[in-house]
Structure formats: structure tokens, C-alpha cells
Amino acid sequence: MLSYLIRRILQSVLVLLVVSLIVFVVLYYSGDPVELLLPHDATQQQVEEMRAYFGLDQPLVNQYVIFLKNALHGDLGRSFIFNRPALGLVIERLPATLEMAFLAMALALTLAIPAGLISGVRPKSWPARIIMPSSLVGISIPTFWLGIMLVLVFSVSLGWLPSSGRGDTVSVLGVDLSFLTLDGLRHLILPAITIAVFQLALLVRLVRAGTVETLLEDFVKFLRARGIGENRVVYVHVLKNILIPVVTMVGLQLCEIIAFSIIIESIFAWPGMGKLLIDSIHNLDRPVVVAYLLFISLILVFINFVVDSVYSLLDPRIRLR
């Protein structure tokens, strides 16, 4: 277990190094942040002063080495634009993103497992005949289109739900949460549904495929031969066996929602991390982009660790090595 953890951490340090290097090189060659920071009527001298102030007049290698030195001291730099510590900016946006991602995933998971089991066990029943085609629709709809449609119907036409923003928040242990207020919850519904639809459709298909496959296995026959009730066979034994691919998929998809739900955050003006990332890329705000990617890599490593741990809970034969 310990050696597993250490190896994982070493691997992620390597990943972080590569990621930061790529960001440095790409942003270095994609423009000049100083031209964006200063108005066009700035004088040449002013431009040079600012470039020197941010260390942008140094060669790329020097800039990277300085960054690494500071990073080792836990300082990921200050945002060029916001003039505040980059990591703080990222962390400040974390609760909004996590809230939306977890709610969407919980929604998808609680609906997908029963729906998938039903359509796996009784593929000819009418719920299955509705669930499977609609899951195809769910997979094919572009997320941004769905988001805009939901806004048009539920906000503009019906006026039931707010179209954008995060609404009221309450502070719990210094973290601002919106799902604990009624207004915040109302703001959460549309973005969460928009994200959940695709995840739901994906998971339903996965659960169904697993169920169909597992039902044919020998151990199911033995269970039935022993006279164990059909419900217990399906909801305990079959379910446990199909959960491993589901957990893998949930882990992967959760990573993606957390890290890159940029389009959804933009449509719903959700003050999450994705919006910060895209703005920072547009503004060539390198410290923020680097801090974001490093931070997100850490989260992804953590989620993968959790997924691996869940494996060994579900199947004692799997050990973390």
C-alpha cells in the first residue's frame, strides 16, 4: 500500500513536470501577455518595463528555471492579470466546480444503475424499450445544445428556473456552497442536468451490457440452482460483479467533468474553474494556466487512487501494488 502510494506520487510529479513544461512552451509561442495588459497607447518604454517586471524579457529557459525554483518553495507565481497568487485563484473556484460535478454524477449514477439493470434483466419489457433508445439520444445530443435548449425552455419561455449564475451561497467552514440554499439549488438544476444527461446515457448502456453478460455466467446459474431469490441474484451478486467497469467509468468521467466542463460553465455563467482556465488561456495568464493544470492533475491522481481503492473493496482479489 505504502509503496503503491509513493510510486503514484512519483509518477504524478513526473506528469506535473511535463505538463508545466508544455504549458510554458505553448504559451510562450502564442503571443505576448504584455500587449494584452497594456492599452495600445502605452509607450514603448512602458511595454519594456512591464515585460521586465514579469520576467518576460528573459529567455524561455530562464523563465522556466525561475518557475521551478519558486514552485519548489510552494509558490506557483502571481497571476499577470489578477495580480494575486495563481493557486489561490484556482482554489477559490474549486467548490463551484466540484458541487456541479458531484451533483451531476450522483444524478446520473442513481438513475443509471436501476435503469441499466432493468433493461439488462428484461430487455423486452416496456421500460427497457424506452430506456435504450433514449440513452442513444442522450449520447448523441451535443451538450452545449442541450444546455441552450434547457435555458430557452425552462428560463426564457416558462420562467421556472434561473438561466445562469450560481445564486445564493452559504459559507460552511469557510467554503461557499450553493446547494444548501434554495436559490443556489435552483441555479444548480439546469447545469447539473445538462451534464448528467450524457453521463446517464453512457452509464445505462454500460450497466446494461454488464448485466446481460454477467447473467450468462456460471455463478449465476449456481446461485439460481441453490434457490436464491431472483432479486438477490440481480441486485446483490450481479450488481457487485458489474460495478468494476462502472466505477472505472465514473472515475474517468468525473475527472473530465471537473477538469473540462468549460462549455457548460460558459453557457451557464457558472463561476467554476473551467471558466477561469479558458479566460486565462485567452489572456495568456501563464501562472494561472500552470497552477490550474498542476492542481487538476493532483485531483485526477487522487480520484484515480480512490477508484483503485474501491476496486479492492469490490473485489478482494485485487490488491493495490
Binding site: 492599452p39 512591464m50 517586471y53 485563484l89 441552450i148 438561466s163 453557457i267 479566460d279 489572456n283
Partner: protein
Amino acid sequence: MKTRKMEQSRKRALGLTSRAWILACLACLTLTLAGPSWAAEEKVLTVGLSTEPVSLDPHAIATASVISMCANIFDSLVFVDEDLKTWPGLAQKWENTDPLTWVFHLRQNVKFHDGSPFTAEDVKFSIERAKNWEKSGIKSRVRFITKVEVVDPQTVKLITDKPFAPLTRFLYWVPIMSKAYVEAKGQDHQATNPMGTGSYRLKEWIKGDHFTLIANREHFAGPASIQTVKVRPLNNNATRTAALLSGEVQLIDFVPVRDTKRIEADKKLKIMTKPSTRCIYIYMDQDRVKSPKIKGDKNPFMDLKVRKAVALAVNKEALVKHVMNGFAVPAEQMYPQTVTGSDPALKGPGHNLEEAKRLLKEAGYPDGFEVTFDTTNDDFANDDEIAQAVASQLAKIGIKVKINAAPKKIIYALQGSRDTSFGTSYWTSSMGDAIRFLDNCAHANSKDKGLGRWNIGGYGDKESDALIEQSGKSVDQKLREQAMQKAQQIFLARDQAFVPLYFPVNIYGVSAGLSFTPSATAHLVYGRMSWAK
């Protein structure tokens, strides 16, 4: 929210006896009856902005969204109105004791949001901060001020390095901060905790979600009519329109042209427009034989006839009508008539393909030439569509234009380092004086003089430069105006250094109940808005 909660708790407290119930009902009834005027005053204005201000430090980053937001929290010595006329701000009046010395008499009894008095020391501190602070983004706007002297707490003297008439206009763009506050809290604190004398104070800023502004009851011009303003960044165009249509916001800026009909069709909403002072223009690289983005080893733009041909081939009316859907004004010169230095008599060459072809032939390019046209695609409305339209218009006289449309982060860097031959840029004369365009775009590039940094085409003419410098060091407005007009006669009418295309119109989507006058500066000043009676 608060009042509702109070009511509820009051009801609960009174709810023990039936008599109390009746009392409570009566109280509610009187509240409702007395309601209208009180309710109208309490109505929150929620605004959807296309761009979130990145900082609220008025001296740090001078982007339009920052300045617009800060104009509500801070005041300047001088204000400008919707049509760019100056009027007294924190300074009640001012005079020139000699061409280099300006004496500003400050308003009495003005207080900062924290209650401390505003004095001449704050003016001195603010101007010096704008000039010397290493992160200041507005150094160029105060660079001609060499000295700030505090005469007494209500009088401040500014010394300039040359006679400079538009000084007061420039001072609108230098918000006044509190010396004591900045020194106590530190420079970096200002980006998120602004504190000025303005008509609103910042209550909270949840990044990416909203700003809440509360009217400053002590403001010297009287408290603003709208008590609470909530400003929400809604960068996505569809989201911004949807929020207006659903009634969540009552004012949005930069309405996409395709949404204007939808908004106008709604009785509760209206579209408001205001021509901006921004001029979208074409620049041409004209001072070097080898130009980076022109095919071949000759630079056709060095020939006046080619530049004239480009101007004749571009059909501005068509661009405005078909690309901008009428939400723009064709430009005959670099600034609209409201700007000092514009020339009412100056007319462009018009649109004439035959003449353009003839000039190209005379210049030795009967079959045209190939060139890359650099344009942004995320900066101003329809920027890449305009480039495509211009390219197809130029194709008619044989100039083969390849379009390089990229985000502004890339294009600005190309233009700043002059790694470009041909393209669009813009200049906003929102200070109401032509001198900024002339200094930065029309004067030959000179680092020593601090002039001509955004002269992308590299134009330079001794006579025009002399006129520009002359208009930059005079207090005689008449003389200045003549010099600036004459300069434009030379670089535009005679030398066709640029091709001005159009002035875009700023489009706002507004709730019918909001009375609001859009400004040529494009700043949203909430203190001048009110709910219609």
C-alpha cells in the same frame, strides 16, 4: 430577503392570538398599500456584462471593463458626459496660471467610503501612483505631468512638461484613490477591495459570479437613484441574451446583432444604441521594401497609388449594411465629429473600382499582388467577417488577400512587433481628443519621444509629425484643432496612410422600465440610471 425574513419572524411572534393576527394583517396591508414608491426604490438593478473586470484597482489594468466598473466606485477630478463634454468632478474649477501650470480647486466636504475626508494629498498620491507604481497600466495618461504640488488641502497644482490643453480630458481617466487607505492596506489589496469617493461602494465580489454595489449615501452629487446594483459577468452571448429575455437582468451590453430583433419584439424590453468613438481601420506596411507578409520582394504599399487603390476598392457602405447589419457608421476619417480634431470637411475618396484598377495598373501591378491580412477573431464584433468582406472586395481589383484570423493574444503581438503587412486594427478616441490617436498611431515611431508605438504601418511624414507635436504642446484649443485637422489632411487625405472603415455602434438590451442614456465612452455609469416612474 432581509425584510421578508423580518416579516416572517414578526408574524410568528404575533401569531399567538387572533387579535395579533389581525394586527399583522393590517400591518401587511399598510405595507402593501404604501408599497409602490418604497418598492420602486428598493428594486435591484441586475446587469449582465460581456466582460468581467479582472481587477478593481483603477490604475492597474486599463481595459474598458475595468475602467467602466471603477467609474462607479471612484471619482476623477474631471468628469465627461455622454457626449464627451467635460464638467467638474472632484475639482470644482480649474485654471491655467501659465501654460505649464494648472491649478485645481477641489470640492469641499467630499468623503471617501470609509468616512475619511478627501484632500489634495489624495490627488497628489493618486497621480503619482498612476505615474510611478510599477504595475500601473495608465502611465501613458499622466506622463506629461512632471510635478504635483499640494498648495493647501483644497488646492492642487499640476505642472506639465509642455503646454497641454487636453489635460482635463486625460484626468477623467485617472481615478482618485485614498492615500491613507492604499498605504495602510498595501498595493495588492486594491485589486479586490476598492475604496473611493464614487457614487457606489463595493459590497461584495464573488469572482466569476457577481459584484454587488450599494449606493454611497454621502456622494457629493447626491445619492444615486438606484440603491443596489448587481453586476454579473455573462460572457457567452446566448447566455446574456437569455438572461435579459427571462427577466433575470435588466441591462446587457454588446448585444449580438442577430439577437436585436428578438429583444425588440419583446414589449418589456428595448434596444438602445450609441455610436462609439472607436474607428476600425486598415493599416498598410509602407516604410520598408521587404515586408513580412507580402509575396515577392517588392512592397506595393510603399506606393501611394496602391494605398489609394485599396481605399477606393473598399466599399464601406456595403460592410456596414451587410456585415454590421446597419449597427455601424461608415468612417470618412479616424474619429467621429464629437472628437476634438475631427474635420467636418474631410471626405474619403468614395468607392470606385475602375479608378482603383487604373491606379494599380499605373503603379505597376496590373494583375494585383498577394498579401496576408491579419485580423483578430475574438476582439470586436464581426472582426473576422469584416476581413473576409474586405478580402472579397479587394479581389475585384486583383489583390489576392489571404486571411490570417487569430485570437487577439496572437494578433496584438504581431502588430506590436510589426510582424505584419496588412490588416485591421482599431482606435478608440473615447477621451474626446484626437491627440491620442495622432501620438500613438500617426506619428512616426520614436521610443525616445514615447510616440508612435501603435503605428503598425510605419507611416511617417515630417510635416505631419511636426503638426502632431505642435498640437500636443499648446493650450490654444483653436490652434490645436487646426493643427490636428491639417495633420489628418496630410496623413489621410494626401498620403492615405490608413483606410478608416467604420465606427461601430454600441448596442444595449434594456428593460423598458429602466431609464438610461448610453455614453460615447461606453462606460456604464449606474449613478445616472433610474427606474422610470
